[in-house]
Subunit: 185 residues, 2 copies
DNA sequence: GATTCGATCGGAGGGATAGTTA
DNA sequence: TCTAACTATCCCTCCGATCGAA
């Protein structure tokens, strides 16, 4: 183990990127710097279906905790949205996916709720490409990066913003926070 | 100033990213993490012509140092190529630009040599859009990110690879290294 | 004739808007 | 019927393989 000196602001930033209690500085930095995690081959296939929701007895607790998490982590999704990535996206579709990716990262366990968000006759989200493709014509499904979920992409920017707002609210964000998230697009 | 503990390999990696003697860990990390540098409004317009080369008395020393740098930093361009960025690029043009950006970052002072690389009748590189646009038809010039240089973009992937190889060699890389660089595309 | 180079044009992706449905 | 919400067609831009030119 080596020790390095960094300024306060940078320290706070790194700390804010923690993904689980007790995550080490090395782990956080490796993730942020997109280095391979030491040793592991790290070939994570994330194409499998999302983990089934807990048996309903645990359900209420789960939800309460989710809200708590959003409260405690206030603004954390905002840190998870890699501004760099966002900026390099050439179009709204790219930004849309980056934002959803960030939301997924922070809300992996509750992300299933997005599947309840849909249009009049087509689905908006699903955990497989086909469900979306079959629910309409030319829906242009795209996988949300590093996640098992897919989104429809054939819609105007206005609708994409609406979708983001709905997702945000479904995940427990306030109207104000949802507004901020939508504005990234 | 805060102090954090990181593992040896990560420490080495960060150290390898030093851009000038005595650069602080904070400075390096901020650059790698693409954070705004503290305080400064940092509105860097990089559209101006590249900084003039030093008065010739210092020139030889400068060049000697540049070569040394490539030697000492062997593989540093490779670290400068943000794998993450590369991966998120949807097409060869995007990757092409990311790679050139990395090369520019490491060889800012010698980058002018690329302007000598050209096709039969069109220019490949220049420090302004127009020179390229006028040297051929539909050359699709694009600015190399964070640099004052532009490249032609209307060519097949094979030619883009050739261009990368020529750039690498012109900047002093070995055939083997050039090969590696070209393979990023 | 062989090879290198250029840029046209087919193809894919993006997303505004015309059109449809409730 | 009129309007609001939603869909997906279709135009535009970007990409880059292919084929004609040098």
């Amino acid at each position: 183990m080596k020790s390095i000196e960094i300024d306060e602001e940078l320290y706070q930033y790194i700390a804010s990127q923690t993904q689980y209690i007790g995550e080490s500085a090395s782990s956080i930095l490796r993730r942020l710097l997109a280095m391979e995690s030491q040793g592991s081959t790290s070939e994570q296939t994330v194409t499998s279906a999302p983990v089934k929701a807990e048996a309903s007895e645990a359900k209420l607790d789960k939800e309460a905790k989710a809200v708590k998490l959003v409260e405690a982590d206030k603004g954390s999704v905002f840190d998870h949205i890699n501004k760099e990535d966002l900026a390099t996206q050439r179009g709204a579709v790219g930004r849309f996916l980056v934002i959803l990716q960030a939301l997924y990262r922070v809300h992996q366990n509750d992300f299933d709720v997005v599947c309840g968000i849909r249009g009049r006759d087509r689905l908006y989200f699903a955990n497989n490409e086909n469900a979306l493709a079959e629910s309409g014509s030319s829906t242009k499904p795209r996988q949300i990066p590093d996640s098992p979920y897919w989104v429809i992409t054939n819609s105007n920017t206005t609708r994409k913003k609406m979708m983001l707002t709905e997702v945000s609210l479904a995940l427990g964000y306030s109207e104000e926070q949802a507004e901020k998230i939508r504005e990234f697009l």
